[in-house]
């Protein structure tokens, strides 16, 4: 087949090129990994009509449909209208006629306008899970309008509890739900189950004082998982109603320097998270000198340096009083090639606006 396709443009439309020339894979966003099961009819129709009849669960919880012919993309986009309206506009309140928060034209039959900000993935959270501390997909739906549509890349993973099944430690901006516990000693029978569980499942911050039959806690190292509350037979441990989150930044996989992320915020409330993430577009624009080039979010943090990241992301944010912020971050990377970062000065990357824009 003789093709002449501007692949990058097609990719921005959320169709990824195949090894088979002229075929593409559609990635349908699914913020928080949760949609009404009726949406599966749309997935099925697209796959059966224009794809190969299969669908693949994308690693970031997108519905991926393979083998769509380049020529069929306009028809697929037209059909996607209902899905985008229901999932993005109705569920998440996304302004589709914008890019990175700025007004931009968008034809509802033209499909996804950007691929930069990736689908926000989430575990099932407290909608179902006995371990979870927060509702993950509701948070994802609140964050979606802050990051999408935008050409600036960011991967956000949300985990409902510090068990971090959804690997908030391996994405640009990982969010981990947690809880602050309240101890009601008058309900404690001194069975010690919480201390046992904390030791085997968490950070062993609880200890049964044999003299008093009550629990002593090292609050500084509590990870906020809620295992004590889950196991307490008397409700002597309860969660405070306010939901808290840890934010883990800069985690990534990749061919060069994969690494687990590091904690940026601890005990942030939802309001704080929303306020901080509202600065992501501004931060990305600054690092990229206002050119939305494709670069992973974690690399943006590297280029700016953590302290600049912290300055820009916390700009104008009023942190909740409990919120703790990392003063510095010391990355630990896997360097596939030793001293990977040691190279000619002229090849070093630049962050921030060029001289004349300053």
């Amino acid at each position: 087949m003789n093709h002449d396709i501007f692949i990058k443009k097609v990719r921005l439309n959320c169709f990824r090129e195949s090894k088979v020339p002229g075929e593409f894979l559609l990635q349908m966003r699914c913020p928080g990994g949760m949609v009404d099961a009726d949406m599966l009819d749309i997935v099925k129709h697209i796959s059966k009509t224009w794809g190969d009849g299969n669908f693949h669960f994308g690693t970031r919880q997108t519905f991926d449909i393979c083998r769509i012919k380049y020529e069929d993309i306009p028809a697929v986009n037209k059909y996607l209208k209902q899905y985008i309206e229901e999932v993005e506009i109705e569920e998440c309140g996304v302004n589709m006629a914008s890019i990175a928060g700025e007004p931009a034209e968008w034809d509802p039959e033209s499909g996804y306008p950007t691929i930069g900000a990736r689908n926000i993935s989430a575990c099932i959270g407290d909608y179902h899970c006995v371990c979870a501390d927060v509702n993950t997909f509701e948070l994802a739906r609140k964050i979606e309008p802050l990051i999408f549509p935008s050409h600036y890349h960011i991967k956000i993973n949300i985990s409902g509890c510090p068990n971090d099944c959804n690997k908030a430690h391996f994405c640009d901006f990982g969010i981990i739900g947690c809880a602050k516990m309240e101890y009601h000693p008058e309900r404690c029978i001194g069975c010690g189950l919480c201390a046992k569980i904390c030791k085997s499942h968490a950070t062993r911050v609880l200890q049964l004082n044999e003299a008093t039959g009550k629990i002593e806690k090292d609050p500084c190292c509590c990870v906020g998982c809620g295992e004590c509350t889950r196991h307490c037979p008397t409700s002597a441990w309860t969660r405070k109603s306010t939901k808290f989150y840890k934010v883990i930044i800069g985690g990534r996989t990749g061919r060069q320097t994969p690494r687990a992320g590091k904690m940026f915020l601890n005990w942030a409330t939802e309001e704080t998270i929303i306020a901080v993430l509202s600065n992501w577009q501004k931060f990305s624009a600054w690092v990229m000198d206002y050119k939305p080039e494709y670069l992973h979010g974690g690399h943006l943090i590297d280029r700016a340096g953590y302290k600049k990241f912290k300055e820009l992301m916390l700009d104008g944010v009023t942190l909740n009083p409990e919120c703790l912020v990392a003063e510095d971050v010391y990355w630990h990377e896997t360097e596939y090639r030793s001293n990977y970062n040691v190279k000619e000065l002229s090849t070093h990357h630049h962050a921030g606006p060029t001289e004349e824009k300053k």
Binding site: A132, N135, I189, C191, L193, A211, P233, S235
Partner: protein
């Protein structure tokens, strides 16, 4: 006589009742449940009718009003001591028939067992007046009818809270004097007549059968299922086990407090004796003990009833989804087996 109070009159009624009573009812604690965004309902003193939860089974039983999880018994200083104080003001406790009937069981243990009356229990019991709540029994964990605990006449007045009114059937004449300002009505409380779940109580004919039931392999399944957390016994309307503990204030060994704290036959350490010996080490052994205690031993001693009122809270609270009614079925099946072997 029965009386009706409108929503607008509720505050006045509450104020009047409060002059005579401390009023206790189930209260909702939002997000305080075992899992995120789940609530618990437990008993506490209320300061308005709105605080109470009347149409939903409480997570924790009414017994906590009379025998709280933790209670100071006395305070000591060198060679002197003083008993903990207790108000003498009567209490009006909103309760369902199962919870009221459970107090008969508790009283057997606390007030009279072995010829001894527990003063701390008795002084609370003397204060208690029940305000009967009707029960909708829409929960398939309930089996009060099978236990014969679906009705009671041990109450001063029956209450029904509707969307726009409070209906009261005053049974006690002293109580009636407090509510006779209300508009006369024909409210009579209704009792549950049938539960979704019904149980057949096991009949253990003789000691030999009892020993065979104890040795039956049915208990072994709990070794893999039950985590021995004790949530069932804390949620139980009838369980009374407690332990006492001396708390020393600071570094002076001569000053402190003796308190009692609920205990559980399911929790490690319950059977630990001087010298470190321990009985009923496995979850299956503990479950066997609990079931036989409730559905054999208690009745063998006190004759009148089993040590269960069918409130089903143990089922509601078990994190491992172990059902006491299904366990009873298994006991019955095991007894059938034992009978056939004979």
């Amino acid at each position: 006589m029965s009386y009706k109070f409108t929503k607008e009159e509720a505050a006045g009624l509450f104020a009047k009742l409060s002059e005579k009573f401390d009023i206790y009812a189930p209260i909702r604690f939002k997000d305080a449940g075992r899992y995120a965004e789940t609530d618990i309902i437990k008993y506490g003193k209320i300061s308005s009718f709105d605080e109470g939860v009347y149409n939903e089974k409480s997570t924790y039983p009414m017994k906590e009003v009379l025998s709280p999880i933790q209670q100071a018994l006395f305070y000591f200083t060198e060679d002197e001591y003083r008993e903990s104080k207790c108000s003498t003001k009567p209490m009006l406790v909103f309760a369902r028939p199962c919870d009221i009937n459970a107090m008969k069981v508790q009283a057997k243990i606390y007030a009279g067992n072995g010829g001894f009356i527990d003063m701390y229990y008795e002084r609370m019991r003397e204060r208690v007046h029940y305000a009967l709540l009707e029960c909708n029994a829409d929960d398939d964990t309930c089996f009060c009818v099978s236990m014969g605990t679906n009705t009671t006449d041990d109450y001063d007045a029956a209450f029904r809270f509707t969307d726009d009114a409070i209906l009261i059937d005053a049974k006690d004449s002293a109580f009636e004097a407090l509510v006779k300002d209300g508009k006369a009505c024909d409210f009579k409380p209704e009792f549950v007549k049938e539960n979704i779940t019904k149980v057949t109580l096991p009949v253990i004919e003789d000691k030999e059968t009892l020993n065979k039931l104890k040795a039956h392999p049915m208990w072994e399944q709990f070794n893999g299922r039950c985590i021995s957390c004790g949530a069932c016994t804390i949620a139980c309307s009838t369980c009374t086990c407690f332990t006492t503990r001396d708390i020393i204030y600071g570094d002076n060994q001569e000053v402190g407090e003796r308190r009692r704290v609920s205990a559980s036959c399911q929790v490690d350490g319950f059977t630990t004796v001087a010298g470190g010996g321990s009985y009923r080490k496995t979850a299956g052994d503990k479950m066997r003990f609990k079931m036989l205690h409730k559905f054999h031993d208690y009745k063998a001693r006190f004759k009148d009833s089993d040590m269960c009122v069918g409130c089903g809270r143990c089922i509601n609270r078990c994190p491992e989804l172990i059902s006491i009614t299904e366990t009873l079925k298994k006991m019955n099946a095991a007894l059938e087996e034992i009978k056939k072997e004979k």
